[in-house]
Amino acid sequence: MQAFFSSLSSQFYISFVDQNRWQSYLKGLGVSFLVTAGALAIGIVIGILVAICRTAHDQKKGKVNPVLSVFNRICIIYTTVIRGTPMMVQLLIMGFVVFVSSRNLIGIAILTLGINSGAYVSEIIRSGIMSIDPGQMEAGRSLGLPYSTVMNKIIIPQAIKNVFPALGNELITLFKDTSLVTVIGLTDLTKAAMQIQARTYQAFMPYLCIAGLYLLCVMIMTKILGTVEGRMRKSERR
């Protein structure tokens, strides 16, 4: 029994204290956060653009606008390809084919995850837009507001509010998926643990530790998302 505990404490020492290894975890966590934040920003921008493009095309009554039609095609191909291929494969292609000569691994990771996330976010926001009563668009247009203004000021804010829980879910998924960036050699939280395992032959402590860290972060995010959602709902008490 004592041997077990002394071995545990020595494992702990090797995994965290020796050579200030705990700093590697924190640095890795920082990278994971940075990639999540960057990818989320790109994902939401792409998502909103694609969603607007697709709903604008679908809601267009009567004549088909050829430009819009081309954009709509591109958007459909984009979501199909991105949602139809594994994220790890996308990372490998971006890291070793498209940007093979670039050493800006964080940039590649953010871009790839952002593009990936955009496909899912676009579908989430599209469902949000479609959940808004068509009467809202009619009311806006009947006041003489152009389509874009009604979208920006009336439809999108309500749509985002409606799909906020789904977007929060996407954020959490995205954060955990950052662990895949290890395949292009970026030292995120997971890679930090892998490197420590390679150097110390310890697996138990590093991996349990990062699992705990991921879990803790997700729990904090969930809490924050819940608070924000509650605050948004307050404005329209029913």
């Binding site: 009554k61 009311a139 247009r141 009947s142 006041l143 003489g144 000021k153 329209e236 008490r237």
Partner: protein
Amino acid sequence: MNADNELIRIEHLQKRFGGNLVLKDINEHILEGEKVVIIGPSGSGKSTLLRCLNLLERPTAGHIYFEGSDITAKKTDINAIRMQMGMVFQHFNLFPHKTVQENITLAPVETHRMNKEEANEEATKLLKRVGLLDKADAYPSSLSGGQQQRIAIVRALAMHPKVMLFDEPTSALDPEMVGEVLEVMKELADSGMTMAVVTHEMGFAREVADRVLFCADGGIQEEGTAEEIFSHPKNPRLKDFLSKIL
């Protein structure tokens, strides 16, 4: 050909939804200051007719002239036309994420008709007029149907439209709230506003309408003063319709 005070003229208007011909060859006009009430059985195309006037529905054929210019023409700036035509919907369609005040000021400010202060002033003035000044900072969901519809009317009025279109404004209301909305509409009519109203409120039609149009089977079957339509109907469809609702 156009009378001087003709605000809206409809020529050979036709609207088709797929294979369904909803409006067949409508010819009509609305004079400045005139109150036109459109009645008729459901599915007769009366709402579609009204919605064609501000092109919420694109006519399949025919022309609509507003102040003499053809708004169905391709080059027409439809937003500029719609700014001059207020519309009130059956289901109010207030913006739920905005306060009453913001609902009213959004369009005037966004279209640069007024700056923020002017719009707020205008909103205050109009809210006072409909007796809802105390609700300026409330959200629509906290208001009753009647209150919401009065706000919707104010929202349209804030753009200073030349004509107001009402699409069954009281049909979605509880009976005890119909009165307060009709009251506002009557007051509006007395102030000289040009109005086109699709409604089932025959009392309102009798009291306010300069002209009543009876719409059925995609066409206007009979028109006349309220007195003519309600007391001396000629068309058998109209007689049948009135016998069912009066």
